[in-house]
Amino acid sequence: MASVTTRPRKRSLFHLSLQRREAIACACFIAPAAFGFLAFSLFPLTTSAFLSLTDYRLAGRPHFVGLANYATLLSDNLFWQSVRVTSIYALAVVPLWLVNSLALAILMNQNLKGMHLFRTIYYLPAMLSGVAVSMLWIWLLNGRYGLVNIALRMIGIQGPNWLRDPRWALFSIIMVSQWSVGWYLPIWLGALQGIPTELYEAAEIDGSNWWARIRHITLPMLSPVIFYNLVMNIIWATQLFTEVFMMTGGGPRFATLAYMLYLYQNAFSYNKMGLATAMSWLLFIAVLLLTIVAFKSSPMWVYYEAERRRP
């Protein structure tokens, strides 16, 4: 007698529980992003950690050299010069970005006729490519024909050779960086308009002046946004590249040799990928430490409306 076997019934997708179906859908939606993260972030990140311990030169196989790349960097004068340049730049531009963009945002937050036009105008530089902006400033700051020096000459001042004089080159780059402070306008404006007007009205009734309102209402209420901008600015400041690459090439005499530019030169001009990846890891660690410091300090000066602090 032939045995009768019963085949297990296949469970179609529709027979799965709602929870399982949701889990599958969730996985499907996450998959592209997860793949992108794995392939384009995690893999390069882990690979670069390994490559920083090798003498990888793009062509040929990498050979393990231990911490030699890190030791080379620590004894390289130009590495320290790039650290110095980037630190000065960051120390200068981070406060300038915050103060200037906030001041601009407060101005742009006034209820005046034509304000939308002004907001657009101030935001426009942020829309331009860094390369185009750099090209523009190269000519504006030209020591011989630049409009800046022509304007200075008209008032009897002989302007310096902005981008070619080691004493002025980094200052010029810092100056140029302020041109696109309009980038922060939407963030500041959003935050400013989120501050309840009752607070200002109450303060006015109590007789507080303009500065007191800024100091005691606006700034505390904006502190989460200030914190966000501070962290992002620190990160961006350490990424200085386009301006120096385009405008000075790191010169004159390394006066504008930014960290990222030196990293790029090691990687693509000198073909020292191992050394360049070591630099990128050192930068990562430095930025991480700065960010941790910023986060640790935030309870002292960042005010969250919904936050309940322990007594």
């Binding site: 024909y145 050779n161 070619r164 005499r253 073909n271």
Partner: protein, 481 residues
């Protein structure tokens, strides 16, 4: 007879295996031709040898049919780009089944892209460039052209060319193998602004001028109040190279950039070379300061703006660089050196190299030799006016240059290209092209020209910093294959 059939499972398994095999095959590396592949005789292009030697074997042998597509990779040559397009078109006309795809990238970007393509194993077939490309040979990325060259009836006849086609390549690379083919030369020339000389009543420099004459003239023609300088120099690396060579041609291999084991600036000759910037920049103040170089709108910086009386520049400037300058200028050979001859960078040659990963080595080779060794190719190189052709028949033909570009100075380009003497190459081949000059030489020379350091201090610094750098670079490079 039994009719055997596959089960569905077997069929699916077989299909999957076939598919996997096909996919694996598609992912396999591209087949490469063996570097020692024997060349076939030259194609039927109009060659110099046909014109000069009627019994040349190339004419008797039927040309092979060339088919396929190759990529010709070059940087942006400005007006000379057109000549590259014309060369590709002329080659395709002679070889209808061949296609040359031209890739032109901005200078600088092309080297980065090439590095990436080399690393990825998908390089272009034929690459235009200079000696710096030869470092890829160290990594086995370039096709060894020695046998192709030796079997070529035209290329081996050195008297057909303005330069020795073989020596610079062999000498510079330090091996017995050839990895690139010269298509043109770049030589330095001395340009002068005739109007500045005329108004000052000074005689223009000639072939008989010495470097001392040039220095004296430069000093006389400098008028800082009117922002006028006596002389302007090109890249530090090139100038250091040929000045060094001026002093010790017999010890040519001591040039620090070449086969460096240690830098040796701290010597009477080295001090003399470094004094050049110190004297002209700091003492005489007759050279255009480095800080001013990038501030001029005109092509050619201060010279182009009419604010420098003389400039040591490349021969391409007489071709197209200075053609639109709004003043009358002239050109001559750079001065005779102490040893009684003129330095010329006539191994500073433009070359074609072929990637070893090319799928069409024969086609790539024939294209490279079409550019270098045929009248058609060389005439078009001459028309491009970026390099001076190396084939004598093209180089000596006035018709090569467009009439409006021919004068002044084309004759000096050819003269300079044919100057006797050892070849000079400013670029170290087994190390990065720019690291030593960028990190050490240029900043030091700038300091010298400002008087911030003395030549002795500069020499000591360069030797101290440069020697470990050289040693390290040397150590990290793979052995020549």
């Amino acid at each position: 007879m039994d009719r055997r059939s596959l089960t569905r499972r077997q069929f699916l398994c077989s299909s999957a295996l076939l598919l996997a095999g096909a996919a694996a095959g598609a992912c396999a590396p591209r087949p490469t031709a063996p570097p020692t592949a024997q060349p076939t005789p030259v194609a039927g292009a109009t060659t110099a040898s046909q014109a000069m030697a009627p019994t040349e074997p190339a004419a008797a042998t039927p040309a092979p049919k060339l088919a396929g597509e190759i990529e010709y990779f070059t940087y942006d040559l400005g007006p000379a780009n057109q000549s590259r397009e014309q060369i590709a078109a002329a080659f395709q006309e002679e070889n209808p089944e061949a296609k040359v795809k031209l890739t032109i990238l901005p200078y600088g970007e092309n080297w980065n892209k090439l590095s990436a393509l080399m690393a990825a194993g998908t390089p272009p077939d034929v690459i235009y460039g200079d000696f710096s490309l030869l470092r890829y040979a160290l990594e086995g990325q370039l096709l060894d052209l020695t046998e192709w060259f030796n079997n070529d009836p035209v290329l081996v006849q050195q008297d057909l060319f303005t330069v020795d086609m073989r020596d610079p390549l062999l000498a510079m690379f330090g091996t017995s193998r050839l990895y690139n083919l010269i298509l043109g030369t770049w030589v330095p020339l001395l340009y002068y602004n005739k109007e500045i000389f005329d108004s000052a009543g000074e005689p223009i420099p000639t072939e008989k001028s010495t470097w001392d004459d040039v220095r004296t003239l430069a000093k006389k023609l400098t008028n800082l109040e009117q922002q006028q300088w006596g002389i302007q120099f090109g890249t530090t690396l090139d100038t250091v190279g040929w000045l060094w060579w001026e002093h010790q041609p017999d010890d040519f291999w001591a040039i620090p950039q070449i086969f460096p084991e240690k830098t040796n600036f701290d010597s009477p000759v080295g001090i003399d070379v470094l004094s050049f910037w110190y004297n002209l920049g700091f003492q005489d103040k007759s050279a255009v300061p480095f800080a001013e170089m990038g501030t001029f709108q005109a092509y050619g910086a201060a010279f182009g703006a009419g604010q420098a009386a003389m400039v040591v520049g490349g021969d391409w400037d007489s071709g197209w660089g200075y053609r639109d300058l709004p003043f009358e200028w002239g050109v001559t050979l750079i001065p005779m050196v102490k040893q009684g001859y003129r330095p010329a960078l006539n191994c500073m040659v433009a070359t074609s190299t072929i990637a070893s990963a090319t799928r069409h080595p024969e086609l790539a080779w024939q294209f490279a030799r079409f550019v270098s060794a045929t009248v058609t190719g060389q005439t078009l190189i001459g028309l491009g006016a970026y390099e001076t052709p190396v084939l004598k028949e093209a180089a000596h033909c006035d018709a090569v240059m467009k009439p409006e570009w021919a004068a002044p100075g084309y004759e000096y380009r050819v003269l300079a290209a044919e100057l006797p003497g050892p070849m000079y190459c400013p670029y170290p081949l087994d190390m990065n092209l720019w690291e030593f000059p960028g990190k050490y030489l240029d900043p030091t020379v700038q300091q010298l020209s400002l008087g911030e350091v003395t030549p002795e201090q500069a020499a000591a610094y360069l030797d101290k910093e440069g020697t470990p750098f050289y040693a390290e670079m040397k150590k990290s490079m793979p052995p020549v294959k």
